[in-house]
Amino acid sequence: MCEHCGCESKQTKEVELERQILAANQEIAKKNRELFRRKGVTVVNLISGPGSGKTSLLEATIEALKDEIPMAVIEGDLETERDAERIRAKGVPVYQVTTGGACHLDALMVHRAFHQLEENEFRLLFVENVGNLVCPSAFDLGEDLRVVLVSVPEGPDKPEKYPVSFVKADVFCITKADLLPYFDFDPQKVMAAATKINPRLRCFVLSIKQKETLEPWFAFLKELMKKG
């Protein structure tokens, strides 16, 4: 409105932007990637719905590999230090991010958490995302590898129902495989459905109750660390 006479004429200006709304996150993710490379740290982002066994798989992985590969963990949850306490009990440095309601970790949260852990010596950093199979997929954290997990009790149709999470992943882990006899869950079919959506996916069928099933996963991580 014109200040002098109160008329309705408005002075406006249109600004063309063509800018990604998530550009800020992308920018920080890129910086994270450079930072991780400089520090010689490989970063693995774990994504799944709540209760798929991310923390349990981490506990088993730490137990098996911590003497060989120095590790650290960033835990993401809405509330509580519970997961961090479980990881701490296994003797590796851990930092808990409590998002206080946010449904995903973003690149800035991971950046800050990394600085909190930096004084420790580690080469492999696991980021356990907030339990959610949808939102974390949209946020690049600067990770080297993205792992999506589905546990047997969640049902066999997750790749078809949540394709976006699978398209953006590098690895697919079916967890709680010891429960296969009790569910209509054909791991071969589920892996086929997932690799149809994303032919690049490396698949694993795992159970922390059947230690021998974890060997291919451990071998994969060791190989990953060799490549740097």
């Binding site: 408005k10 002075q11 406006t12 200006k13 249109e14 600004v15 063309e16 932007l17 063509e18 800018r19 990604q20 709304i21 998530l22 800020a24 996150n25 946010a102 449904c103 995903h104 949808v134 939102c135 997929s137 949209a138 078809e160 394709p163 976006v164 398209v167 149809k196 959506i197 032919p199």
Partner: protein, 114 residues
């Protein structure tokens, strides 16, 4: 999904621009949302309406949403299609469609009141 935090990120960016332009208000915002961006248009609009009530800069702003369909290209026959990128190629029947567009979440244009 997380429409509220996306609206917040968008509005923070617009506040920064408004300061730069010396604007008194925002009259319109145009965003482009891809079908597969995971963003629910109505939830985005709702989150914006809530934000709007708390910030006088946005009081009179109109939110315009452009939708981008999911388009993919076959890795085998290179044809482009608008059918589901998570299914087989409708032309050659093989699996392996690659998304070309539909993941956008862009702030396209802002109209300021000076």
């Amino acid at each position: 999904m997380h429409e509220a935090s996306l609206v917040l990120a968008m509005c923070e960016e617009i506040v920064r621009l408004a300061k730069q332009e010396g604007a008194k208000g925002v009259s319109s915002i145009t965003v482009r949302i891809g079908e597969l961006s995971g963003v629910e248009k109505e939830a985005f609009r709702f989150a914006f309406e809530v934000y709007q009530k708390g910030d006088p800069l946005f009081e009179k702003a109109e939110l315009r949403i452009e939708t981008v369909p999911a388009k993919s290209r076959c890795r085998h026959c290179w044809k482009e299609t608008l059918s589901s990128p998570f299914g087989p190629c409708p032309f050659c029947g093989q699996w392996g469609l690659e998304l070309v567009s539909g993941e956008e979440l862009d702030l396209v244009r802002v109209e300021f009141v000076l």
